[in-house]
């Protein structure tokens, strides 16, 4: 978890490999067996030309990045808005990055507004969005990390 935050601070990025096995695991865990994710023959005949990862799988990586940075504050009071811009496909390596854009005070609590982006190995943005989280009380707020 972050002990110190400031405007512009980068969150610890995550890197995840998307494989068909991973997609199948997610399908079994979530119960989402939409054939675009798990049926390679079906998916080959769609505009995608092959299977794609569940959007919620990629978004789970964003949530994991936020949990690692902000702990229980994220899972109990987080807020996010995400747009799915491209499909993540088997063979892709997805990098999840986040940044604290601003820190604000409201009713005695401090909140971090973050932006996040998941991109593949070609630099194409797969998911982008914003997240807001209340900063844990023990978090030190500084200017530029000083």
């Amino acid at each position: 978890m972050l002990s110190e935050v400031h405007q512009g601070k980068l969150l610890q990025p995550l890197v995840r490999d998307i494989t068909q096995d991973r997609i199948n695991l997610y399908a079994r865990a979530s119960g989402d067996f939409n054939p675009i994710h798990v049926d390679e023959t079906f998916a080959a005949n769609t505009p995608f030309g092959g299977t794609i990862a569940h959007g919620m799988l990629v978004l789970a990586y964003v949530s994991e990045m936020m949990t690692l940075a902000f702990g229980q504050s994220w899972i109990s009071e987080g807020k996010l808005q995400a747009r799915f811009k491209e499909a993540a496909r088997p063979g892709d390596t997805v990098t999840i990055k986040g940044r604290i854009d601003s820190i604000k005070e409201d009713n005695g609590n401090w909140y971090a507004d973050c932006t996040f982006e998941c991109s593949n190995q070609r630099g194409a943005v797969i998911v982008a969005g914003q997240a807001t989280v209340r900063l844990p009380t023990e978090t030190r707020i500084t200017k530029n990390g000083s």
Partner: protein, 134 residues
Amino acid sequence: MQKGSITYEDLSPGYEFPPITCELNASFVSDYVRAVESSKTEFVPPLAVTACGLTALTKFITLPPDTIAIHASQELQFFKAVPIGTVVECRARVVRKLDRSKMSMLLLELDIYDQNKEKVQSGKTTLALPGQNA
């Protein structure tokens, strides 16, 4: 699990889905954590709560033949951490439906409650249904 279903054509703004119940037991959470390579906590990962409700919800909708539904956008707000073993109820409604030649869009709003009737999450989901010529 819900009974029955509704066709995509019959969905219209204001339609409320029957409440959907999901048990977020240890087995479900363990499978989910493994699938998304998440760190283990005493609580259910918040997107596991969402996924459980959304999956059940989308299974309730019968799409036209050879049509796929993909996620276009997602908004979420978490109100409390959800302990493993919680039974949640997902209530959802259709907010907007757009039908165009190349793409249809369905905007759903959902609220998820725990067994004490306390709201644990709310969100908005946009599903895109690319047309045959998309």
